[in-house]
Amino acid sequence: MIGKTLCSRSRPGSERLPLMLLAVLGALLTVGCRQDMHDQPKIEPYEVNNFFADGMGSRIPPAGTIARGWLREDSALWEGKDAAGELVDTLPMALDQALLERGQQRFEIYCSVCHGSTGDGQGMIVRRGFKQPSPLYEQRLQEMPVGYFFDVMTNGFGLMSSYAKQVPVQDRWAIAAYIRALQLSQNAALAELPSPIQDEFHAALTAAESEGDGVHHDDAAAEHH
């Protein structure tokens, strides 16, 4: 053993040089590996993929197919229509505070740009030149069944595009419920409001009057709108 070890030490260069050269070559080869792992052959969302004629990595499901869990059996939920094809006038889910709050949040995101936060049809895009929609709280729309609003969101109406892509079914119903709340609020008389809100309003009004200053009066009124 000792003899063998000594022997190999006696001529180091001749054995190690090829090994070292091999190591250097190996290290050079790894330089090219980096991007392979960074950009793998798998398709990421929206990635270009030239395997397909249209170059789109994200594929559209073939016509007539339904993804698991997406069978639209419940026509009231998915279309806002009953078995006879008439627009439904009841929500296909329970109405509670959470649903209305969700509806308010989604209305602010997707609808207020045109319809305005109160549904008056004076949203930013309308102020920039888009055709003004009817106020959501006008008499004609108050008389529409709730399924009507769901139907318009789903299929579009006039210049309004379908929002089915941007707003999932459950949220469209939440917005429809919130539109009912807007219709109620925009046509409500002060005497119909809960007494704490009435008190708050009167207190603000009194405070504004005692200030006796038009500017302050406007501020207080604006706060309570």
Binding site: K42, P45, E108, I109, M124, F130, S161, Q166
Partner: protein, 219 residues
């Protein structure tokens, strides 16, 4: 026979060892600094796009919520690049004759996608998911920068692993209440030192061991 080396050679030999090490060390340091520079990470770099879309105009000036266009951000890994239909929701009426928007109209007419150049691109071995970050209270602005002030979109952060880990180690420094995630102007209250810790607790964000485990981001 005269000696080959003078006594001062000792000093030169020692100095050359120190200098050699210093040189090797600074070379490594230089390479590390280079890898972290914005030249390499492209942080703050604007990418050429088919249409000069202004986030500044659409969000800050028009008041459109991030989710109007990026509507899958709350439910899926990808925040979503809006299909051309979404642009046309407004632009079939607004600026409908603008030459700047011709690529958008062409895309709509011919049913071909607009080819945007990706700005925030993580390596494919990172499994980033927008929905969980949004649900736990990481604001858009935290990673993407002040997009509401960008006439042309630029990369908001380095996207390096050390940057990810900075937050995964100390989420309390970066999270906000879930309802403020999409608010680009939100400011963290300065009076409460435990503010972040409370949010982490309320959101049920797991501890450092879980957040920095390899398989949290790589699989």
């Amino acid at each position: 026979m005269a000696q080959i080396f003078r006594p001062s050679t000792n000093t030169i030999a020692k100095m050359s060892i120190i200098l050699g090490l210093a040189l090797a060390g600074s070379l490594v340091g230089l390479l590390m600094a280079f890898e972290r520079s914005t030249y390499r990470t492209n942080e703050g770099v604007v990418y050429a796009q088919p249409v000069p879309f202004s986030h500044d105009h659409h969000t800050a000036a028009m008041g459109i919520d991030c989710r109007y266009c990026h509507y899958s951000v709350e439910t899926s890994a990808s925040a979503g690049i809006p299909p051309t239909d979404v642009c046309m929701n407004c632009h079939k009426e607004i600026w409908k004759d603008s030459p700047m928007l011709e690529p958008v109209r062409a895309s709509y007419r011919d049913n071909t996608p607009l080819e945007w150049n990706r700005v925030h691109d993580l390596p494919d071995f990172v499994y980033f998911d927008h929905s969980i970050h949004v649900a736990k209270g990481v604001g858009c602005v935290t990673c993407h920068g002040e997009v509401n002030k960008m006439p042309l979109i630029k990369r908001g952060s380095s996207l390096q692993m050390s940057w990810c880990l900075d937050c995964h180690r100390n989420p309390e420094k970066n999270v906000r209440p879930p309802e403020e995630v999409f608010n680009m102007e939100w400011e963290r209250p300065k009076d409460d030192p435990d503010y972040g810790a409370k949010l982490v607790e309320a959101a049920g964000i797991e501890g450092e061991q879980r957040l920095t485990s390899c398989s949290t981001c790589h699989r």
